[in-house]
């Protein structure tokens, strides 16, 4: 019953009036950030990190605030998915498939309640999973030496590349770019400057918060300008919201299955919430079979992906906390937060600073309950917030990022660097280079090198030492197929047996490409490829009216995603 006493301690830390207040504020902000197309979980948390510091919060308080924001964004993404047919953030993509048809049938309120409850179930059970698995994994992680950590970091980069991009070379380049940027500054063990070009500002290296806010938030501003600002959601109406008990009862099984799948997807390095919601939806669809009404407003089609993505969000915390290796973009940002707070995640964290770990876990439980209350009875409030025009929003994002970073570093040079990262992020995303590996590289680069060098010191320069323990051999063996398999899967998918699994040029523009990660993941799981084409093609393909064009433009800006290839504007579809 060690877990229970630990949990009690965590609640003791997290249940002060001020932290409760922070949890409520964080949940509220998070839901808004999630609901607004274009601001996803990683952007939202990234923008708020500097702000949390300038408010002078201590470690536990900052963690409570930002984990509430994190969970809040996962809840909030569904609102615009259901009401506008635009995912508010990337993991909410699958929710549009059945959520929007439900809204069209006048059941928007039902869809919002079902998805809210599904989010709660997913996140709550995943947090329980974190409580149970986290300490176990931390115990295993005790056995990790420098060689094992080096292999683990390598595994994270390899598998992240496998899902983050459709082009392995680009994903690998992104990781190299991040690692290269991490090398800038003074070398820890010899004190020699590296790649500074004599610039004193660079002696301390590039602050990863600067890079994160630049790559995520400032780049988003450029995408907004490119999309010509066709992004407002004025005129959305929502009727009376009641609780559909019958539907909730009917979708209980769906929620539990979605939770299980999402949780596993979250724990795996590199997979993250988007894959969780995708797999949960697809698995549910094949589980129900032809009895279901998927794509036409089946409540189960709303419950499964929402349970999946929220469970994955909780699951992704496990590798981040126990090993210090984030499983997704947002957990990478959370890792940045912990490192800025001088907390090193890893097995030692559980032993040495249990109040932080368990306080964090307790705040996840609190955030969940707050979010359930906020997202079911108070959902109308957030629908109103969606109507904020983006030309108000984007200057606000810019201002918050600038002021946040400036208050943290106090240097105009860092602001310039941030703008530079913004421009870089824009071009990288345009060229289909994922930005999450860049962030991960900047975050982990120094530690990866340190572990390599420490391993070499231990073994006195004997390189085979890297492969000497069973754990490290296992990690190396896992890393190689993690990187290589997607390449082969992609070439298999290029010439599928039954014709191209996707969508001709005239179809809805919001479809993925044949080699995108979801197809690959789907294929790898052994599902029927064509089911995917059917699932994705079930989006409304009505004649492209003005509203549709606006939606499409909004989506372009709002995809908020580094994992999904840019939606290609239909050349002959929407003319």
């Amino acid at each position: 019953m060690e877990i229970l006493s630990n949990l009690a301690m965590g609640f003791g830390v997290a249940l002060t009036p001020f932290t409760l207040f922070l949890a409520v504020v964080g949940c509220f902000l998070g839901t808004i950030i999630g609901a607004l197309p274009g601001l996803g979980p990683s952007n939202g948390v990234a923008i708020l990190i500097p702000l949390a510091f300038s408010l002078g919060l201590d470690a536990t308080q900052a963690l409570v605030l930002l984990t509430s924001v994190y969970y809040g964004t996962m809840y909030g993404g569904r609102i615009s998915s259901i009401l506008l047919n635009i995912p508010g953030d990337e993991p909410a993509m699958m929710t549009t498939l059945d959520g929007y048809p439900m809204a069209k049938q006048g059941r928007a309120g039902d869809a919002l309640v079902i998805s809210g409850v599904a989010s709660f179930v997913g996140a709550f059970i995943a947090t329980i999973g974190l409580v149970i698995i986290g300490p176990l994994l931390a115990r295993i992680a005790y056995k990790f030496g420098p060689a094992e950590y080096f292999a683990l970091y390598l595994l994270a980069f390899m598998t992240l590349g496998g899902v983050a991009s459709k082009n392995q070379a680009k994903a690998a380049f992104a990781a190299c770019l991040g690692l290269g940027i991490a090398m800038i500054g003074m070398d820890n063990s010899t004190g020699m400057p590296r790649f500074t070009g004599g610039n004193l500002h660079l002696m301390d290296g590039v602050d990863f918060l600067v890079a994160i806010v630049g790559l995520f938030a400032i780049a988003e501003v450029f995408f907004f300008i490119e999309s010509h600002g066709k992004n407002s959601a004025i005129g959305v109406k929502l009727g009376k919201v009641t609780i559909p008990w019958a539907d909730l009862k009917a979708t209980t099984g769906t929620m539990l299955r979605g939770t299980g799948i999402g949780f596993v997807a979250g724990v795996l390095p590199g997979a993250g919430a988007s894959l969780g919601s995708f797999m949960a939806y697809m698995a549910e669809k094949s589980f129900i079979g032809s009895k279901g009404n998927f794509g036409k407003g089946d409540p189960r089609g709303v419950a499964a992906p929402e349970a999946g993505n929220n469970a994955a969000a909780g699951g992704a915390m496990i590798p981040m906390l126990t090993l210090g290796v984030p499983g997704s973009g947002t957990t990478a940002v959370m890792l940045a937060l912990l490192m800025t707070l001088n907390i090193t995640p890893g097995p030692l964290l559980f032993a040495e600073q249990p109040e932080i770990v368990w306080g964090l876990i307790a705040s996840l439980f609190i955030a969940n309950i707050v979010l359930l209350v906020m997202n079911v009875p108070l959902v109308k409030l957030f629908v109103k917030v969606l109507m904020v025009p983006p030309w108000v929003l984007m200057p606000l994002v810019t201002m918050v990022s600038f002021v946040g970073i400036y208050s943290l570093t106090g240097s105009y040079f860092d602001l310039l660097l941030m703008v530079g990262f913004g421009v870089l992020g824009y071009f990288l995303r345009k060229l289909d280079v994922p930005t999450v590996p860049v962030i991960l590289g900047i975050l982990l680069g120094i530690q990866m090198e340190d572990n390599l060098r420490r391993a070499m010191v231990i073994s006195d320069g004997d390189w085979p030492f890297l492969f000497s323990s069973p754990i490290s051999i296992g990690l190396w063996i896992a890393a190689i197929p993690g990187f290589v398999a997607p390449i082969f899967l992609r070439s298999v998918l290029k010439t599928p047996v039954g014709g191209r699994p996707v969508h001709g040029p005239g179809e809805e523009r919001r479809q993925c490409r044949p080699a995108c990660w979801c197809h690959r993941a789907f294929w790898a799981l052994g599902f029927d490829r064509n089911a995917l084409a059917r699932g994705v093609a079930l989006r409304p393909t009505s004649s492209p009216s003005t509203a549709d064009r606006r939606t499409a433009g909004r989506f372009r800006w709002g995809r908020g995603s580094r994992n999904i290839p840019a939606p290609r504007p239909a050349r002959n579809g929407a003319t």
């Binding site: 010899t190 020699m192 790649f195 907004f224 600038f402 289909d432």
Partner: protein, 151 residues
């Protein structure tokens, strides 16, 4: 196609420059078996490989924005750089007010041909520059539709 080839070339050249930079790192007399050079060299080598793959197996070109959007983005970049420089001498309030005003000038909304643009004649010159002459809030009700661009 060609975009990726150019990008691949840039990556290869950049990685080679990075390797050159890594080779010029000075080791101190007190060093470990690996030293400060080895890891950057490994990264550089991996990046060269990635660049070569991009050069040889390019993807399709992305959809690039039109010239007006480029102009807006360039103006926005200048504005952000200016904001960065202004923040410490001018203080937060003044520089944010200036930047927010400037933000409104960088017009993200395209004008529709024949739309109800009441300041059409006045704004013609500004429009060519993609600059909004007055703050967006000043826009009247008829202009609000034009703000979203497509109704």
């Amino acid at each position: 196609m060609s975009n990726d080839r150019i990008f691949g070339l840039v990556v290869v050249l950049g990685a080679l420059a990075f390797i050159a930079g890594a080779l010029s790192i000075q080791s101190s007399f007190l060093t470990d078996p690996v030293g400060p050079k080895a890891f950057p060299l490994m990264i550089g080598a991996a990046a060269v490989l990635c660049g070569l793959v991009m050069l040889l197996k390019p993807d399709e070109n992305p959809e690039w924005p039109d010239a007006r959007a480029w102009l807006s983005m360039a103006a926005a970049t200048l504005l952000l750089v200016g904001y960065a420089y202004a923040l410490s001498p001018l203080g937060f309030l003044l520089s944010t007010a200036l930047a927010a005003g400037g933000d409104q000038l960088v017009d993200p909304a395209p004008r529709t041909a024949g739309g109800a643009d009441w300041h059409g004649t006045v704004g013609a010159a500004f429009r060519r520059l993609q600059i909004r002459p007055w703050p967006g809030i000043v826009r009247p009700a008829t202009g609000a539709a034009g703000l979203r661009g497509d109704s």
